[in-house]
Symmetry: C2
Subunit: 276 residues, 2 copies
Amino acid sequence: MERIERHVSHGGSQEVWKHTSTSVGGEMKFGIYLPEAALRGQKCPVLYWLSGLTCTEQNFITKAGAQRYAAEHGVIVVAPDTSPRGSEVADSPDYDLGQGAGFYVNATREPWAKHFRMYDYVVSELPALVEAHFPASDARSISGHSMGGHGALVIALRNPGRYRSVSAFSPIVAPSQVPWGEKALGAYLGDERDAWKQYDAVELVGSASEKLPLLVEQGGGDEFLAQQLRPELLQQACAKAGHPLQLKLRDGYDHSYYFIASFIGEHFAYHAKALA
Amino acid sequence: MERIERHVSHGGSQEVWKHTSTSVGGEMKFGIYLPEAALRGQKCPVLYWLSGLTCTEQNFITKAGAQRYAAEHGVIVVAPDTSPRGSEVADSPDYDLGQGAGFYVNATREPWAKHFRMYDYVVSELPALVEAHFPASDARSISGHSMGGHGALVIALRNPGRYRSVSAFSPIVAPSQVPWGEKALGAYLGDERDAWKQYDAVELVGSASEKLPLLVEQGGGDEFLAQQLRPELLQQACAKAGHPLQLKLRDGYDHSYYFIASFIGEHFAYHAKALA
């Protein structure tokens, strides 16, 4: 494991590391913010952030303004790249499939199955690495944006007890029912739609054994709202299952990091309370 | 004048506009953040932000996290591109000369003199445009980073009464004495060094008729500190001239936007007080 970037930020340290991942069979990068307490060796809780389509580990750490809140609450923030990368890794010319579009699944179909195992990477390998190499406690929360909001909801719903809290910005709540998800899950998992259910928050809510509340932030001016995001499907599924959901619709806000930056402080306060 | 981007942000609106500039003889872009009060038509004071080498109007608006503070204090923020652009505009293959490196001067030497008139653009044309088209009062402050910190200090020192306050992050305080400045001023103004003095904060401090206090934020881990920035030269010049200077040295911080984002809130509080 090698540190390739380090910047002092809000009294802590914003770093980028690269390492060879066994889950994806190749090099992965992740951003990690260490608040001042962590730099002094004190164990801190960890918020995992999953980014959206086309993003790398850079987008969240440069655009969300999260370091201020991580410093304030003494939380480590880990933001991995959204897929394996490189010339030996399968890809597509489309922005919504292949590199930069891992969808946080374990792919079972060729040519994707060899490297596209982001579910295992985020759920198991990355936290083990973080908790072994940094002063990170095992108090974990998870959040993300768009494809990463989908990832956060799915991962929290499938791993009861593993996360203290979960939230999502503009998540793809029902990938089985929208174009982005149908394309990606079809490619990574094959045409048999039963296999998609394990990666679909709306499907998972019905059978979740732990009723971890879901906090979802959604811009009312989001250009992908009606076709790709459809938060009303999650609302209906949660109502039916009696699963606690707080859906915050924000008039006018779009799908960009300007939206995330506007409300990330509230999400940090929410997670910090659960992590305390 | 045409709006080419609009994003709701912290209750206000982050926009990007393009227009034909008479100062630079071509198209210019600028970012403008309008806090909620301005959207309601209430006149708000304006902070001008000048970015550094290689930057466009995008860097500050996406990376500094400034909208939160602009919203909190009800301040409009205007962040122009750092030079004219386009195939008809002179350029150099170097990152520190030509497009993206306007140095906030009015060039007098060819091939630069035709378009590189960023001093006039920032001092006169842009404020006139902003105050005519947006609910902006004539209460102005100015700040910037690196080359833009140089621009902010020079413009404030040369225009007494025009700005309520000035600050700079990691500014090039003495361009006549450092490689970045010698290269740019030599190219834009010619070899006669007397002509450089009007664009050199350390030179200007000695003859400033208005003692507007200078607030300078400097990272102690800045990779350009010793060779290009040399804040001690400004400290000496201010001491000699009895010009008020607050120089804040911040251990470990580098030249990046992580540094700016860490302290931009304090600068907004400082400017907001002067603008009130």
